[in-house]
């Protein structure tokens, strides 16, 4: 029994591709190894069969004519777009589709408050009371506007007025003390709600004092509470606290509804839709061509 010969060595041997030393060694083993003889014989028959079987005849001649080998530049070749243009088209389609979806979403669900206002209100360090004292009486414009009768008791937040430092329309309501001054639960007059305990506190202080100096303030506060109780059906009111106390002029909120409108006009949304459809079709055609 000689050395173990691999298929690769036997194959190379039949093609006379073995190094001369290996070839002699293999021939020496072949002389007395019947199994090796059979392996070589089968491989030789296989090769012979492959070489014996006829080749397929080509269906025609492939001779060239001058017209066939004309310069490709002269031929009316179809303009081919490069693969990079296909990717650019795909990207443009995706971007356009995303913009269209965002535009439709904005039209269907307009945001209740501009983002920057919500952020500024949320970041304010002021407490609700402090804000009332410092900023509630605020602008002359607001005061003038409140002189008009409130047309409808609708929820309104003045754009420049930070409300309770909690940001957001709904949070302002929720922050009002429960049962405060008969204003809670109503959608209007939320800014006046914290002032009612203040007025009540002033009234209590005057009652304990027992002097006549507070009589006038007591009358004012009593009037205020009555007025506040009827707030939901009346025009804007003004609450004036006792002279010793910090003055808090509270106004009823603006009754004009001012939901922000969508920043994307309908015609822009439509244009984005058409562009998305066109780009999608073009990309499909281009990808098929590639």
């Amino acid at each position: 029994m000689g050395r173990p010969w691999t298929e690769e060595q036997l194959s190379a041997y039949l093609d006379h591709q073995l190094p001369s030393g290996e070839q002699r060694a293999l021939e020496a083993d072949l002389a007395h190894d019947a199994e090796l003889q059979q392996r070589v014989a089968l491989l030789r028959q296989t090769i012979a069969l492959l070489q014996t079987a006829p080749l397929r005849e080509p269906p025609r001649n492939y001779l060239l004519t001058p017209a066939m080998v004309a310069s490709p530049a002269a031929a009316p070749a179809r303009p081919r777009r490069s693969p990079s243009s296909l990717w650019a088209m795909r990207l443009a389609t995706v971007v356009s589709a995303a913009a269209f979806v965002v535009a439709v979403g904005l039209n269907l669900n307009p945001a209740p408050m501009p983002t920057e206002q919500r952020e500024s209100a949320a970041l304010s360090p002021e407490t609700p009371e402090a804000m009332l004292y410092q900023e509630a009486p605020i602008t002359e414009t607001q005061a003038l506007s409140r002189s008009a009768p409130a047309p409808l008791p609708q929820p309104t937040v003045a754009a420049e007025e930070p409300v309770y430092g909690l940001g957001g329309f709904e949070e302002g309501y929720l922050s009002a003390p429960p049962g405060a001054g008969g204003l809670g639960g109503g959608e209007e007059g939320f800014a006046a709600a914290p002032a009612v305990p203040e007025a009540t506190a002033t009234l209590d202080a005057c009652a304990e004092d027992g002097s006549g100096e507070c009589a006038e303030a007591t009358a004012d506060v009593t009037m205020t509470l009555k007025t506040v109780a009827a707030f939901s059906e009346t025009a804007p009111i003004t609450i004036t606290a006792a002279p010793e106390e910090p003055t808090a002029t509270l106004e009823a909120p603006e009754t004009e509804t001012s939901y922000p409108q969508s920043t994307v006009p309908l015609w822009v949304t439509g244009l984005l839709g058409v562009a998305t459809a066109g780009l999608g079709y073009g990309t499909w055609r281009l990808s098929r061509r590639h």
Binding site: L10, S11, Q17, L49, L64
Partner: protein, 206 residues
């Protein structure tokens, strides 16, 4: 001078003439190698029509790029272009699968009856066709890289060096792929021994 005359065959002169723009010289080279080019394309693509197209494309491409031929084996250079054309066709077919006419029967022989050797006896022709069909079926079951090397060496008669040049692979890779392919072919032919014509059956007796 008849360019295809075997006695006056000078491949180097024909190549040089073709590089100078002589289309007849190039056509003489094509006539000499077109059967090998077509068979390589057929074994790579397994479809007569696709092989026909790929061979024609390769011939045109070879003529247009003849200036890039720097000597060596013109056959290996031409078959490399055929191989590349077939790979392009395979990539294209993967993107757009289609049904071949081959699926409706072997029609190409009937379409080209003049290509048969009239001197051959009908029984011999049938036997050789059976053998060829069996071999092609067995070849189709080999991995593509092994099948290509086997066809180039054992069917088309290229040397190891020419195969390495054609496929742009190392000589050692040619040897190992060829050995694996031959071993698998031997096993396949032994499995189908009874299907082979009697005089072509492998003899596995010790």
């Amino acid at each position: 001078m008849e360019l295809t005359d075997a006695a006056s065959w000078d491949e180097t002169a024909l190549v040089h003439a073709a590089q100078r723009g002589n289309l007849d010289a190039f056509n003489a080279l094509l006539l000499h190698y077109q059967t090998q080019a077509y068979n390589l394309a057929y074994h790579l693509l397994q479809d007569p029509a696709a092989a026909d197209d790929a061979t024609q494309e390769a011939c045109i491409s070879a003529y247009r790029n003849l200036a890039q031929f720097r000597g060596g084996s013109f056959r290996a250079w031409l078959l490399r272009i055929v191989t590349n054309a077939c790979y392009d066709a395979l990539r294209h077919a993967k993107r757009r699968p289609s049904v071949s006419w081959e699926a409706f029967g072997d029609l190409e022989e009937e379409a080209n009856p003049h290509l048969r050797d009239r001197a051959e006896l009908p029984e011999e022709a049938v036997e050789r066709d059976e053998l060829r069909q069996l071999l092609e079926d067995a070849l189709a079951r080999l991995p593509e890289d092994q099948r290509t090397v086997l066809v180039l060496v054992d069917r088309l008669g290229l040397s190891y060096e020419e195969v390495a040049e054609t496929l742009q692979i190392q000589l050692g890779t040619v040897k190992s792929r060829l050995a694996r392919a031959r071993g698998k072919m031997r096993d396949l032919l032994l499995e189908q021994r009874e299907l082979l014509p009697y005089r072509y059956r492998l003899d596995n007796r010790v």
